[in-house]
Subunit: 155 residues, 2 copies
DNA sequence: ATTTCTGCAAAGGATTTGCAAATTC
DNA sequence: GAATTTGCAAATCCTTTGCAGAAAT
């Protein structure tokens, strides 16, 4: 990671841990949670601790380098700040996350801000449903309790 | 609560605790979290336990009587199923939640479902920003660290 | 009488924090 | 050398769960 990436706020230091973590987040195709990131990072630096992961994620968030998402009620997921704004569609069957764009959201921010007197800083659209595969399974009647359990556990 | 409210699924029993909790949720103007609901309910029935609150909320959710929201990363909030679909705008300063309508969201569900091959079941739009009061405080320069802390703690 | 619910206390899981040692600037 | 960061372990916070007794059908 370029040193300047972390020095937006003066006193942030460029450590091996932060380099590693930010690098992994950038390479990651999907959205990682803290523990997934931790496991990946341990391969490269086994001494790294989970607290450091959490502390780094907090820092990256504050520096605007990553975004935090709450797809389910349990853990939070992270992705590096995307170039183009997008939103998320989560499959209730398998947990797969699909991204999509929604240009009208910008207009919505402006409109609601005006109507409610808020300064709107962020707008997120969050869709849930069933992905093509899970729909197929449902149709085939294989999505009974057991089958579905399998899928959910695989998340 | 009318008995039939709970008997959508055969085996659900009509207990004093469930009546009380659902009643409070219906009266509540805003969105309660589990502990707020618990505290309110204890006034009327001091022996009630927090586990019962959680178990009841889970049931109400399954019966489609209440909706669960995740406004921040910490706790979940609940509201009785609203007549008209609406979304939420959360103030980052004071936590105040403002509701708004967005009819175009239905169209979005259909469009994304078609484009991605998903069966989209739900769509939520979630905005964050600063409410009129907090904007005012920011302008007055009173929203410095201390002041902001005050507000956040009052949530 | 049978099944479902409750309260209690304990367990769980994700995230945060205090502190001394290690690292960066 | 001074200030920041790390790893570890313990602590927190919200939520869930096991179980025996209480309540509903």
């Amino acid at each position: 990671m370029a040193k300047d990436t972390l020095s937006i706020q003066s006193s942030k230091r460029d450590t091996a841990q932060r380099q590693l973590l930010l690098g992994l987040l950038r390479e990651a195709e999907g959205h990682l949670d803290a523990d997934e990131l931790y496991q990946q990072a341990r391969h490269k630096q086994p001494s790294l601790s989970l607290s450091t992961v959490y502390r780094s994620l907090k820092l990256f968030k504050e520096l605007g380098l990553v975004e935090e998402h709450q797809f389910d009620g349990t853990r939070r997921h992270y992705e590096t700040k995307p170039e183009t704004r997008h939103h998320h569609l989560v499959c209730l069957g398998c947990g797969r996350i699909t991204e999509f764009k929604c240009p009208t959201t910008e207009r919505l921010k402006a409109r609601i801000g005006r109507e409610k007197g808020f300064e709107v800083t962020e707008a997120e659209v969050y869709l849930t449903g069933y992905c093509p595969d899970c729909r197929q399974r449902l149709l085939e009647g294989r999505a009974d309790a057991e089958r579905k359990q399998e899928i959910v556990e695989r998340r």
